[in-house]
């Protein structure tokens, strides 16, 4: 296990067992995230990008099931630990921001109520404050007992006042004006962008090591989106939080992420740094995505090249590469067997048979020696 990695997913498979049959939402996925890095996951609806991260949070409910694989977070395999253990991690070490800010906050409680609850559930006072508190005690026997407890690692939870202070601090940090006043309000009194800020403040309030943002700006307007993206970048820089960013918008990926994973049909198609994915994509699907969005904001118009066909049905996914039915370069082997992730460069991997030495030469694709 590499100590540099915050999160490592190995051969993850998640399926939903519906009455119509098994839906293989995530099929054998592996990737890792460095400490303090921002990883972007792109993919269309149904590509399995959200299910992967819900698996990390262990939020897959019946009829869904993690069939196989390891999820190693900070040295702990999340698939093996008990329900209570994951509840301690969820919300404190790993936090998640969802797409729709209205449905992920409880409308009948004030922001204060909800934030204080989360903070008091997860946060302990710092050792320094605990010692200071103990020093101030007048009763000597009590003081000694308190200090001994601190030595043993017993710290009390934050009290309401401390939790409230903390909540207000984080609301201010995410740019909510007058946090002392706003914290007493109900979610409906906030606008969409403000609600998303509240959600981010809530997610940050327990100082998570990993923040998972599942399409956090999709429901927002562009001008508000720009504010939220700036905020997330600032948080990553200042607090050193690792962030996984799920989106379908290539523009957002280019803006915030360092590394990118492209998913399709429940599998990883390509991964690499943001520059590699945008300037030298090696998978036909990534290329297709680039060609199907208008690139030049200014300058003359180039006709879009759409990817023909439609995304695969995960109930009966194609036997080989999930993209093969829509791929221009599909060969016999693509239909029969999915290609493994082949190394293109130190950081870039592509799951395509065109990377193979025996494959025909196609313009724009470089072959690597990775697949034999």
């Amino acid at each position: 296990m590499n100590n540099e990695n915050m999160l490592e997913i190995k051969n993850l498979e998640t399926s939903f067992f519906t009455h119509l049959g098994e839906v293989k939402a995530v099929r054998n996925i592996s990737y890792s995230l460095k400490k303090g890095g921002i990883l972007g996951i792109v993919g269309e609806s149904g590509s399995g990008k959200s299910v992967t991260l819900l698996s990390v949070m262990r939020l897959i409910e019946d009829p869904g099931k993690i069939k196989n694989g390891e999820i190693i977070f900070d040295g702990v395999d999340l698939t093996k630990i008990s329900k209570t253990e994951i509840q301690d991690i969820r919300g404190s070490d790993i936090s998640m921001i969802f797409q729709d800010p209205m449905t992920s906050i409880n409308p009948v409680f004030t922001i204060q109520n909800q934030m204080v609850e989360v903070i008091r559930r997860h946060m302990l006072i710092s050792k320094a404050t605990a010692i200071m508190e103990a020093q101030e005690m007048s009763n000597i026997s009590k003081k000694e007992k308190a200090l001994k407890n601190i030595e043993d690692g017993y710290l009390r939870k934050l009290n309401r006042k401390e939790a409230l202070e903390r909540a207000i601090y984080y609301l201010g940090l995410v740019g909510i004006p007058e946090p002392e006043v706003r914290i007493k309000q109900y979610p409906h009194q906030f606008s969409g962008g403000m609600r998303q800020r509240v959600l981010i403040a809530m997610a940050l309030s327990c100082e998570p090591k990993l923040l998972i943002a599942d399409e956090p700006t999709t429901a927002l307007d562009v001008t508000i989106q720009a504010q939220i993206l700036d905020l997330l970048k600032k948080i990553q820089k200042e607090l050193g939080t690792s962030i996984i960013f799920i989106t379908h918008d290539l523009g957002v990926i280019a803006e915030v992420c360092e590394n990118v994973i492209v998913m399709y049909g429940g599998m990883v198609m390509e991964k690499g740094t943001v520059n590699e994915i945008f300037y030298s994509p090696q998978h036909p699907y990534t290329k297709g995505l680039h060609q199907s969005i208008p690139k030049n904001i200014s300058g003359h118009k180039k006709r879009l090249v759409p990817i023909e066909g439609s995304p695969p049905d995960l109930m009966n996914p194609p036997k080989g590469c999930p993209f093969s039915p829509r791929c221009k370069h599909a060969m016999q082997i693509c239909i029969e067997e999915a290609a493994p992730l082949a190394k293109v460069s130190e950081t870039q991997y592509s799951a395509c048979w065109l990377q193979h030495q025996d494959s025909p030469d196609v313009e724009g694709f470089t072959k690597s020696g990775g697949v034999k």
Partner: protein, 385 residues
């Protein structure tokens, strides 16, 4: 440019929604969804309408096609008056009557008959003007043709806009039957042609909407709009519910159809890069008003209105290097509410350059450079023109 034929002209269009009335039925809260906009769409072009959610772009489209009745203002299609709003006249009459009552009450008890008569006459004159205007507008409104075949609409949500109990052929043929365009077997023949034109198959005609994917449903919606040979198609966010790889398919098809049938589009969307791609001219809306109208290339190269500038600078580009280079103007705050808006420029509260008259007077949409209309008091200073 001026010699091109104007297909649709919108003059001072307003659409207000009353959301709260007091006990007397007087409007207390009014949403000024569309508040006096003017624009022209030339034959054969694509006019893009962009703006953030709640700016009134969809309401504009729906008012033009007649799904909403306009509060005031006129819509001309192909030189003919399509709709005229008289709600505002009604409101004005009510206001005048109340004012008259109030003034009569204020008079001292021993006021002479003459004084009372004088006030009454003053108000009657004003009232008569409004009443005759109302009568006239009602009359013209009645005489206007109900034939709205020439304008068709494509909706945003391909799941909600198709009736789940009708087969695809029934959905597409409904317009043909309503307008009695074709009879008997010709109808189904036409449906087949349309289906094939939008990239579906003949055998799809007898299926129901739930059997199709989002992209295919949007194709059905487009076939339905094409069925009655329209001249103008209002596309209200036709691609925002679709996946990226499918969006390009639909956009390309819309372009091909435009060329083939000589269609004119009013393309409403919030995806700015796609609007730029498809539109010849673009109107930028903010809180019910048009901020800037221009040809699309100059608009994106040199936006003149401060709102357009910040809007365009906040698009994340699918190009990591370009994002590092370009400087971003991040707007502070949120869009203010369109309920009983304050006087002055709608954008003033969030504008970096706002001062003085911006808060008191609403700017007009003026032609600042040839073909470029901007509604801003200080546009010349801001852009150093």
């Amino acid at each position: 440019m001026e010699d091109r034929k104007v297909l649709l002209e919108v003059k001072n269009l307003k659409k207000h929604f009353i959301i709260k009335k007091d006990i007397l039925g007087k409007a207390k809260k009014t949403v000024h969804a569309v508040d006096g906009i003017n624009f022209k769409i030339y034959q054969g072009e694509t006019f893009g309408l962009v703006g953030e959610s709640g700016c009134g772009k969809s309401t504009t489209g729906r008012t033009i096609i007649g799904l909403y009745k306009n509060t005031s203002g006129e819509v001309f299609f192909d030189g003919e008056l399509l709709s005229t709003g008289y709600e505002e006249n009604k409101l004005r009459i009510g206001k005048l009557k109340r004012k008259l009552k109030r003034e009569l009450k204020k008079l001292p008890e021993d006021a002479s008959k003459n004084e009372i008569e004088e006030i009454k006459e003053k108000y009657n004159e004003l009232l008569n003007v409004q009443k005759s205007e109302l009568k006239e507008k009602k009359q013209t409104s009645k005489s206007l043709g109900r034939n709205q075949r020439d304008i068709q609409m494509i909706f945003q949500d391909p799941y909600a806009s198709l009736n789940p109990r009708m087969t695809v052929s029934e959905i597409i043929a409904e317009g043909i039957r309503t307008h009695n365009l074709l009879q008997g077997p010709e109808v189904s023949e036409r449906v087949f042609v349309l289906l094939e034109r939008v990239g579906l198959k003949r055998e799809h005609a007898s299926r129901y909407p739930h059997e199709f994917s989002g992209g295919q449903r949007q194709r059905i919606g487009i076939a339905r709009a094409l069925a009655v040979d329209p001249k103008l198609i209002i596309a209200d966010e036709p691609i925002s519910a679709l996946d990226v790889s499918i969006q390009a398919q639909v956009v390309n098809m819309l372009e091909d159809l435009q060329e083939e049938f000589g269609l004119t589009y009013l393309f409403i969307a919030h995806d700015l890069s796609m609007v730029k791609y498809i539109s010849d001219r673009i109107g930028v809306m903010y809180l019910g008003k048009l901020m800037e109208v221009s040809e699309s290339d100059p608009l994106y190269e040199l936006p003149l209105h401060p709102y357009t500038q910040s809007l365009l600078s906040s698009i994340p580009l699918p190009d990591p290097d370009a994002n590092l280079r370009s400087e971003r103007i991040v707007l502070q705050g949120d869009v203010s509410s369109p309920i009983n808006p304050k006087p002055g420029c709608r954008f003033a509260e969030r504008c970096r350059f706002a001062k003085g008259e911006c808060f008191t007077e609403s700017p007009e949409l003026d032609e600042i450079l040839p073909g470029r209309f901007v509604a801003c008091h200080h546009v010349k200073e801001i852009n150093k023109l």
